[in-house]
């Protein structure tokens, strides 16, 4: 019994001291770095947004979101759409969407749309397509994704929104048709969705502070 208590006391003390010291060490580091980390995280998130829409348009873009239901895109949950608001007017939005028909897995993208319905820009956030083949949808690898800029959706009978091989206007990459087709179709769908829900999507989420800013 004696031995048991002694053993427990000794071990507990040992482990306890180290626990306290190490926890303190980590906590201090955390306190010292937390602010910078937060900044980094935000900057990282915002980076792609500002690739699509110039930061000059709206500095607060990454903080202004509005939740819009999207059954048209096959989603049960509403999606969070970023709004670029100038003078209380939504100038452009960025809609995060997922293309499901990729070659191997989902392709997550951001689709930027001006309030007139034309494409402001498309970027792929994450994908699992084959490197060297399907990954030309990344802007770092190829300019292909820029070919959407400025285009509009002209309704159901718009034949341009397809890869060239299937009569559309977009190049496929050599040896890979599926990836571009998935992206093109998803962008088209998103534009269609935008058309349908224009009202909701273009309603500014924040108004007051903009007025202050302008003054």
């Amino acid at each position: 019994m004696e031995g048991l208590l002694y053993s427990i006391r000794k071990n507990t003390l040992g482990i306890g001291i180290f626990a306290a010291v190490t926890a303190g060490l980590i906590a201090i580091t955390q306190v010292l770095t937390s602010e910078r980390i937060q900044q980094n995280q935000e900057a990282h998130q915002a980076r792609i947004l500002y690739e699509i829409l110039p930061r000059a348009l709206d500095e607060q873009l990454h903080q202004q979101t509005i939740r819009v239901p999207a059954p048209e895109l096959g989603l049960h949950e509403p999606i969070e759409i970023f709004q670029a608001i100038v003078n209380d007017q939504v100038q452009a939005v960025i809609i995060p969407v997922t293309a499901k028909e990729g070659y191997s897995g989902d392709i997550e993208m951001l689709v930027g749309i001006w309030n007139d319905g034309s494409v402001a820009g498309v970027r792929v956030v994450s994908h699992r397509e084959t490197p060297g083949l399907g990954d030309k949808i990344e802007v770092e690898k190829s300019d292909w994704i820029l070919s959407f800029d400025g285009l509009k959706w002209l309704g159901d009978d718009d034949q341009r929104w397809n890869v060239r091989k299937e009569g559309g206007e977009f190049d496929q990459f050599t040896g890979a048709t599926i990836t571009p087709r998935a992206v093109v179709r998803q962008v088209a769908k998103t534009l269609e969705y935008f058309d349908l829900r224009k009202e909701q999507i273009l309603r500014p989420s924040i108004q007051l502070n903009r007025v202050d800013d302008d003054e």
Binding site: K10, N11, L25, I26, N40, P131, G132
Partner: protein
């Protein structure tokens, strides 16, 4: 005396007992993040810092750690260093942190460190422990970088690309393009390539070892009769 000990420690860490090539420890990050040189350097540095720190701490307190909770305490010390590094990387090299991802916290279990704390630092004085941590870390980093370079060169046809993630904007220019318009040998970039590449590195080490051994054998004359030198007479 001192010198020869340190020499032995460095030769051990860098070659004879290299954590990656010989002990086959720390393989996970070794294979997972060596897609490019910059990742390799990043992880190598982080590991080395943790190794030195944890060796130092363990060696300092080695007399005061009760055996039953020895492992948990070692692990805690290492985890503390790792978390600190993790936080610092998040603060200062955020992009690289994102790429290395889960393998930063995994440095904790990274057997290399475990082995060192238990096997070396808990039995040796502070300076030797620090030096051992450094050498093991450097040995590990060298392998990381070699493998990273191999895979980057074969897989993407470049070397030292994206160095800015670690060394800031000016380093962007360090990139060397080996082959223009390289099609990319994807195998090297994918998991199978990592394994095979590592196998080749180990084989190269074996080859060099064999050559070295051959040479020493050829230079020293056949050893003289020593067979009974250590013999103990157990009877009459």
């Amino acid at each position: 005396m001192m010198n020869s000990e340190f020499r032995k420690i460095s030769i051990d860490g860098l070659w004879h007992n290299n954590p990656a090539l010989v002990q086959l420890l720390g393989l996970c990050p070794l294979l997972a993040v060596t897609g490019s040189v910059v990742n390799a350097i990043g992880l190598g540095l982080a590991t080395t810092v943790v190794l030195i720190g944890s060796n130092l701490t363990v060696s300092l307190f080695r007399q005061h750690i009760p055996t039953a909770v020895r492992l948990p305490i070692f692990v805690m010390i290492i985890a503390a260093f790792v978390t600190a590094i993790e936080l610092l990387m998040q603060a200062y090299t955020y992009e690289l942190f994102l790429i290395l991802g889960i393998f930063i916290p995994l440095i904790v279990t990274n057997c290399a460190i475990m082995g060192r704390a238990d096997a070396f630092a808990s039995r040796n004085p502070v300076p030797a422990s620090i030096f051992d941590g450094l050498m093991m870390g450097v040995g590990f980093t060298i392998v990381l970088v070699l493998l990273g370079a191999m895979r980057e060169a074969l897989g993407a046809g470049t070397l030292l690309s994206n160095m800015h993630l670690l060394f800031g904007e000016p380093a962007r220019a360090w990139q060397i393009t080996l082959v223009d318009n390289y099609r990319g040998f994807l195998f090297a970039a994918l998991p199978p390539g990592a394994f095979v590449g590592m196998g080749l590195l180990i084989a190269v080490k074996n080859l060099i070892d064999a050559k070295l051994k051959n040479r020493t054998q050829n230079t020293t004359s056949p050893s003289t009769e020593t067979s009974s030198s250590k013999r103990v007479r157990i009877t009459g």
